[in-house]
Symmetry: C2
Amino acid sequence: MKKLFIVGIGPGGSGCFTKRMIECLEESEAVVGYTPYLEYIEMYLDGKKRYSTGMTSEIERCKKAIALAKEGVTTAIVSTGDAGLYGMAGPILELARDEAIEIEVVPGVSSNFAAASRVGAPIMHDMATISLSDLMTPFDLIMKRVRLAARGDFVLCFYNPRSKGRRDYLEKAFQILMEEGYEDSRPVAVVKDALRAGERVRLATIGSVDFSEIDMKTMVIVGNAKSYLSGEWMITPRGYDL
Amino acid sequence: MKKLFIVGIGPGGSGCFTKRMIECLEESEAVVGYTPYLEYIEMYLDGKKRYSTGMTSEIERCKKAIALAKEGVTTAIVSTGDAGLYGMAGPILELARDEAIEIEVVPGVSSNFAAASRVGAPIMHDMATISLSDLMTPFDLIMKRVRLAARGDFVLCFYNPRSKGRRDYLEKAFQILMEEGYEDSRPVAVVKDALRAGERVRLATIGSVDFSEIDMKTMVIVGNAKSYLSGEWMITPRGYDL
């Protein structure tokens, strides 16, 4: 049977590797992924064909993985986090849904939960994830989502918060939060490279965030109206009577 | 050092067990959790003290785990999914933040991504999770969040969608979606017991969902305006030009 695994490897540190992920990598004859992601799983790649390309060649990688599977080469294509959120599961299935290939999506630890775990329990309750990248989503729709999620008092997880080409989108998002009545003191967790080498954790508030420290590998979590900071933790109450 | 691990075990099937989760269970002398959750990790519990209670005794379990850790017993308290979303990380930290205990939150595969993986790529883009349990959240706030998330065209993941005491909350949520302009044909994935024994997967639309099949162990994922069904898959496009 022609097989293609779409594998979420989690944040990249080996602690979040799952049993099924490892089985699938071991069964694969070829592994396709963005170069740094393949480095995270180096220990499983001995003797396998590797195909890696740069950051913006996602679709090239998807097509290569599908082509390999169609040739009968059992193949894994890897995403960080969970492959089903801003990852490779979507484009692969869009491209391969009519192909005679057995496809398995292997879930992973998503980046927002990896980041959250390093500062305690910042999410805990109803939550929205918003990617601030406007490569494939209109800027106005992104900011509309920020505003509506703020009105609903969701915990907010910002993916791709800041890049060289989009230096001020997170500031613009925070401006919307202020317009919606958020206080300067609303807690914010800023976690770069969660659970992998070079991890850096910051607790702050909307009024005190250092935007210059934030890049594409950073997760920014803004609490809901009940979230608070306590020592090394950011906590969003679930609502129990304790 | 007095140690307490707050461990997300993922959906329960061993495929989503992570390396760090297993290390922490192995290091623990006592494990605390809801009875069925301990059964999922039975293979790691040999020779350990176990403390389990029923579904509604979460806080009793948290207090027991903290008390054990304070006595110097290395302890793990387990949640399914990720412990940081509707799980045990919040109440444990609320109760133990001032205690001299080393606490580690161990992230897991969250229930929405486990469910999503079984139907392809239904999430993929900006997403909101909403728990329909009103035990600790006012009903009106829950439905307000449903309405705002719908207006933002977020992919919606409904946790705790239906119980004996709340038979019609999901129908009420769907009614709000219709009021917000959702068509009958909007895709819906209904996944019960994802990636564990007894798994049952249904693809449907808002107009065709069989509510009677849905219970507290079911994840309901409603697509955004661009989501579609294709054979055994539900796909939300990421937005690539393919």
